[in-house]
Amino acid sequence: MTTEVYVSLNGIDYYRLDLMKSETILMKYIYKDTQDLSKIFSPYSQSFALQGSLNNQKILGFLGETKIVKTKTNNVFDCKIYNNGLLAKKGLLKVTEARYENGKIESYTANFTTGLLSLKDRMGEDKISDLPSVPITIDWTNVSVKNYLQQGLFLDNSGKINFIVPFISNNRVWQVADINDATKLDNITYNPIADLNGDNFIKINELSPAVQFRTIIDLIKQKYDLDIIMPLENETFYNDLYVYCNKLEGSFNNSVYYDVINPFVYTRFLDTFGIFTPTPPAKPKYYLTTDFINDIFNINIDTSPTAPRAPFNNINNDFYNESCYIRVIFYNVINTKSNENIDLSIQVELIGGVIFKEDSINIVNGGNAEFNISFLDSNFTANQIKFKIKVLSSVPITWSSSTVNLMYDVFYFGDIKGTFGFSSSLNNNSSTMSMSKIDLFKSLPDLKVVDFLTSFFKTFNISIFETSPDDGRLYWLTPKDIQAQNKEYSKTEVDYTDFVISDKLNKQIANDYNYYNFKHKTSKYKSNADYLRLNAYEYGQLTYPTIKPTKDLSEFKVETNFSIIQSSPVIGLNVNTLYGFTNENPSAQQNNALRYKPNTEDFTLFFYNGQIAPRTPYLGYLNIYPNGTKAIEPLNSITIVGSIHNQSGFNLGFGLIETATNESLYENYYKDQTERLLEPNTLQHTYTLELPPSELVLNYANTNQGESNIPSGFRLQNDIVIQETRYSVIDATIDQTTGKTTLNLLNYV
C-alpha cells in the first residue's frame, strides 16, 4: 500500500512530504466519549515523526530556521492523506517540534487532526446568548402578548426564529373558579369588572416567551461553520421542542432615543407663590426647538432677552438664572416581564455621540419616572446646544405617556421666582419607542455553547461521524438513526475475519459499572423539588438498580445541563400548566396571596403542544393599550406546553414520566447500549488486523443488495464480524500507512 501525505502552505498548492520508511501515522477513532466534547470529534492521530529531508523542510517553509521570515502565522498546515491514490483523510497537520542534530534538522514531530478538533477551542467560553449576530427581538406589549398566548407559533421581528408564549406563570399558582368565590385569590376566570389593580386575570409580567430549540442548533451550525446532517431534524418532537426564555434582568439591552411627537410651545409655569403668574417675557432667554424627524433637541440662548415683567414695570432688577434644565417624565411605567422594580435612566447625548450627562432612578412597577438634567450657560457653544435623549432600561417597559419640558427660573422682586420654558402636550410614545422588546437569546439562562452541545448529545445519545473526507460534513446520529435502512450513515455489517493477523486475542471486562444514573440537571423548580421529596428520585431521572449501591460504587452517569418541569393542573380548568417558579419560600401579599420567586437560572426545555380553547369560563387577561386604556379581556385559547410531546408520545425524561407509557430518552437512546453493558458475557475484545487499502477509504460505490447508499470502508458505526461473532466498535487505531489496525470491539451476545 502506498500512503502519501500532502501539505499546503497556502491552502491551494499541495506538496508531497517524504515519509520515513517505517512511517506510522496512527489514526485514533473513538466511537464516543460523551464526557469530553473535544474527543467526540474523531478521528485524530497520535504524533508521528517526519524526516527532516530538504524536501520536507522546503514544504514546511523551513520551519525551525528562525531567521527565515515565515508567510504562515502558525505551524498548522492543510493536509491530505491519500491511500493508493485515493483521498483517505483531509484535515490539518500540526507540526509541534523540529529535532536538530549537528545543526541539521533530523526530524519533525507532527500530528494529524481533522479540522473539527479545534471546535472546542473555537467555542471557548461562548454563551448561547452570544450566538445570534444580530439581536433576535420580539415585541412584548400587552396587546402582542395576548396574541402570542392565544395563537401559538410566532416568528421574531426578523421573521426567521420561531417562538411561543406558553401558559406558564413565573410567580403564582393560577386558579379557575366562580368569579364570586372570594377565597380564590388568584382566580383568573374572565371577569370584566374585576379590580384592574387586582390579581384576577393573567398579567403580561408573569409570562415569558420560549424559543424553538432547533434555532439554537441552527445558529451553532452557522456560527461555527458546521455542515451537519442530523436525521433528528425530521422528527416532529424535535421541531416542537422549545426553550424557556426565563431570564428576567440584565438581558434586554433596551436603549432608544426619545421620540418627540408633539411640538413645543412657549409656556410659563407656576411661580413661587403658586398664584402669581407673571406675564412671560416677549423675548425669553432660552429657546427650545426640535428636529422631529431625527429627534434632536436644540436649545438656543438669546443674548438680549426681555425681563419677565417688562410690560408692567421698568425697574430692571429682575435677573435670569444662568442655567436651564430639561425635565423628562414618564407616567405609569410598567415592567412587562416581571413585578420587579425598574431601573430606568436617560442620557443626554450631544450630536457627535458624547454623553453630556446622565441620570437614573429606580422606581416601583407602575410608578412615574422623572429626570432633571441642567445646562449651565457655560455648557453652550456659540449660544447653542444640540442633543438627543437616550432612554435605557434593563427590562422591557411600557408607559402611558411622557413629556419633556425646558425650564428656566427668573427672579424678580429680589427673591421671588418665576419659572418659564417650553413644553409640549403629553407624548404617547411608548409604542413608537418600543422599549417593550425582548431579545429572545439574551433572555435565555446563561449556558456555554460547549455545555449546551454536550447536554444535547447526552440527551439524545448522539454520536458524531465523518462523511467523506472531501466534503467535511458531519453526521450527528442517535443510536436509532444508525439503525435506519440504507442511509449513507446507516450501519452495515462487514466481515473482517480475513484481515485478522494476530493469533492473540484479549478479552477484557469492558466496564465495572454497578450503578447507572441518567438525569437532567437538578433544577430549582418548585414542582421538581416537591417531586424529589415524594419519590426519592428526580423528575425524569432513571437509575439502575433503583437503590444506589452503598459499597464499591462505580457509577455510569449521564447528566445534562437541561431542566424539565413536571406539569401541574390548574385547579378548576382541565388544562395543565408548568410552575415557572422556584422552591424558595414564597412571600405573601397583603391579601395573603402567595407570590413565588421566578426561576431565572435553569435552562428549561418543553414541548409545544398546540392551542387549547378553554370552555367557558374563559380566562381573563389584563390588556393595556398604547393610549393607556386598561381592559380585562377574555382569552379564547392558550398555548400549552409540557414535558411530553402529545403528538408523538415522546417524553423528555430519561425514565417514564406522567402519562408517558413507552417513549423516553432512555428507552429510545440508551436502553440497548446499557443492557449490553450489563450482560456479563459482553466483553471488550482486542484484535490486531491488517486492513486492506479498500477499507481505509470510504467508497460510495456499493454494490451490496439494499445498501446502495452506504459507503464501504471502515466506519465506526459498522458492526464487524470476525469468525462466528458479531461486534460493535469501541475504538480503533489504524496505521494509515500500512493498514495495521488494533480494534477494540464489544461483542453482541
Binding site: F62, K67, K104, T497, S502, I722
Partner: protein, 379 residues
C-alpha cells in the same frame, strides 16, 4: 524587489551547498552600530538572466550581541532544497549520459538598517561539499573572505578505465554569457580518453556518483561483485467463517505477505594505486550514486551501419527509444546492453590504505543498496 543577475566567471561564484554556506553581513562602516539585517535570497533554475521577481526566502535578524559588527545567516539548506531533481541517464555506446539538475543559481540582496540595499553577484550552487579546513568563499562587497581551497582539480589521469566504456568529465564552464548561460550548460561534458585501462574481471559495473563538486563522475571497479537480497515478510494466521466447511488439506491456514525485498550490491574495487584512494573517498561521501550494470555485450563491427528502427530497449521500467539510430564505427567496442540502478551508499567505514602498510592490497568492498525492491512495488 528583484535582482539583476551577473555572469559567472570565477570559481568564487561556485558554492557547494552540501556544506553550510555562511553569509556574514556588515554595514558600510563595518562597525558595531548596525542593528537589523534583512536579506533576500533568490534561488532559480533555468536561464541565468531570468531570476524570480520575488525573493524565494527572506531572512531577517537583529544583531545578536552588542559587540558584533556583523549579522550572519546560514543559507545552504534552502538553496540545496532547490537541487531536488538531479537526474542521470546512462547512454549506450559512445553517447554521453543525459544529466540534469546538478545545480541552481542564487543571488543575495540585503539591506542593513536604513542603508541602500546591496546586491551581490549571482552564484551557482551544487550539492557538492567542502572538506575540513575549507570555509566559504568570498562573494564580494562587505562579506568577509575566508580560507578557501577553490575547486581542486580532480585527478583524471591516475584512474582505472575500461576500454568498453566511454568516459566524460564534468566541469564548470566559466565562459558563458549572460544571455546564453543556463543552470544546465554552465556544466560542460568533455570526453576523457583513458590512459590506463584494465579488463573488468568480476561484475561489469560502473559507479556513477556526485563528486565533491556536486558533478557526476565515474569509478570503474574491477573486483568481485556480489548481489544479495533480503526479504522482509510476515506469516500470519488465517481465520475462517464457518470452520466446519474448511478442508484444511486444501486451504492454507497461514498466509505470507512480503513487505520488502532489499537488494544489496557488494563490489570490490580491485587493486588500486595509492593515489586512487582519494576517489574511493569521494564515492563514499557521495550524496547520489548510480550503478551501471553492463551485460558484457559490446557493439561489434558487424553492426556497423545497421539501423535499429522503432525498437524499444527497456531498462527497468524506463523506456529508451533507439529509433533510427545507426551504429557507427565510433560505438564499436563499447558496451551495448546495460541496466542503470539507483542505489544508496551504505559504506559507513573508510580506512585510508597505503602502499607502505597494505603493500599491493589496496582495495575496498563498496556496498550499495538498491532503492527499488526486487519485487516491483512502484505504485
Amino acid at each position: 524587489m528583484a535582482v539583476t543577475p551577473t555572469i559567472i566567471n570565477s570559481e568564487n561564484q561556485i558554492y557547494l551547498a552540501n556544506s553550510p554556506i555562511h553569509i556574514r553581513l556588515h554595514n558600510l562602516a563595518k562597525d558595531t552600530s548596525l542593528q537589523l539585517a534583512i536579506m533576500e535570497l533568490y534561488v532559480w533554475i533555468g536561464n541565468l538572466d531570468t531570476p524570480p521577481t520575488t525573493a524565494s526566502f527572506t531572512y531577517k535578524s537583529t544583531k545578536v550581541s552588542a559587540n558584533d559588527n556583523y549579522i550572519a545567516f546560514q543559507i545552504s539548506e534552502p538553496i540545496s532544497s532547490f537541487i531536488n531533481s538531479t537526474k542521470f541517464v546512462w547512454n549506450s555506446g559512445e553517447n554521453a549520459p543525459m544529466i540534469r539538475g546538478e545545480g541552481v543559481f542564487f543571488q543575495i540582496k540585503y539591506q542593513i538598517d536604513e542603508e541602500t540595499p546591496v546586491e551581490l553577484p549571482t552564484c551557482f550552487a551544487t550539492n557538492g561539499y567542502r572538506f575540513d579546513f575549507e570555509q566559504v568563499g568570498d562573494i564580494s562587497g562587505n562579506i568577509d573572505g575566508q580560507p578557501y581551497l577553490g575547486l581542486l582539480p580532480i585527478n583524471y589521469s591516475d584512474r582505472n578505465f575500461s576500454e568498453n566504456i566511454k568516459y566524460y568529465k564534468r566541469e564548470f564552464d566559466f565562459t558563458k554569457t549572460l544571455g546564453t548561460c543556463t543552470s544546465e550548460n554552465i556544466i560542460k561534458s568533455t570526453a576523457v580518453t583513458p590512459t590506463t585501462t584494465q579488463c573488468q574481471k568480476g561484475g561489469k559495473y560502473l559507479v556513477a556518483y556526485l563528486n565533491r563538486h556536486g558533478l557526476f563522475d565515474y569509478f570503474t571497479p574491477f573486483g568481485k561483485a556480489t548481489k544479495q537480497i533480503k526479504v522482509d515478510a510476515e506469516t500470519n494466521i488465517r481465520l475462517y467463517r464457518n470452520p466446519k466447511s474448511i478442508n484444511n488439506s486444501v486451504v492454507h491456514s497461514k498466509k505470507r505477505s512480503i513487505d520488502t525485498t532489499e537488494q544489496t550490491y557488494t563490489i570490490n574495487t580491485g587493486y588500486l594505486t595509492e593515489t586512487m584512494v582519494e576517489q574511493i573517498e569521494e564515492v563514499i561521501y557521495s550524496p547520489l550514486v548510480y550503478l551501471i550494470n553492463f551485460s558484457g555485450a559490446v557493439y561489434e563491427t558487424t553492426q556497423i551501419g545497421v539501423t535499429v528502427d522503432s525498437t524499444i530497449i527497456t531498462v527497468d521500467s524506463t523506456l529508451y527509444t533507439v529509433d533510427n539510430t545507426t551504429i557507427t564505427a565510433n560505438d564499436v567496442g563499447y558496451y551495448s546492453d546495460y541496466k542503470q540502478i539507483p542505489v544508496t551508499n551504505e559504506n559507513n567505514d573508510f580506512m585510508f590504505k597505503s602502499r607502505q602498510f597494505d603493500k599491493g592490497k589496496i582495495n575496498y568492498d563498496l556496498v550499495f543498496k538498491s532503492t527499488t525492491d526486487k519485487i516491483n512495488n512502484v505504485r
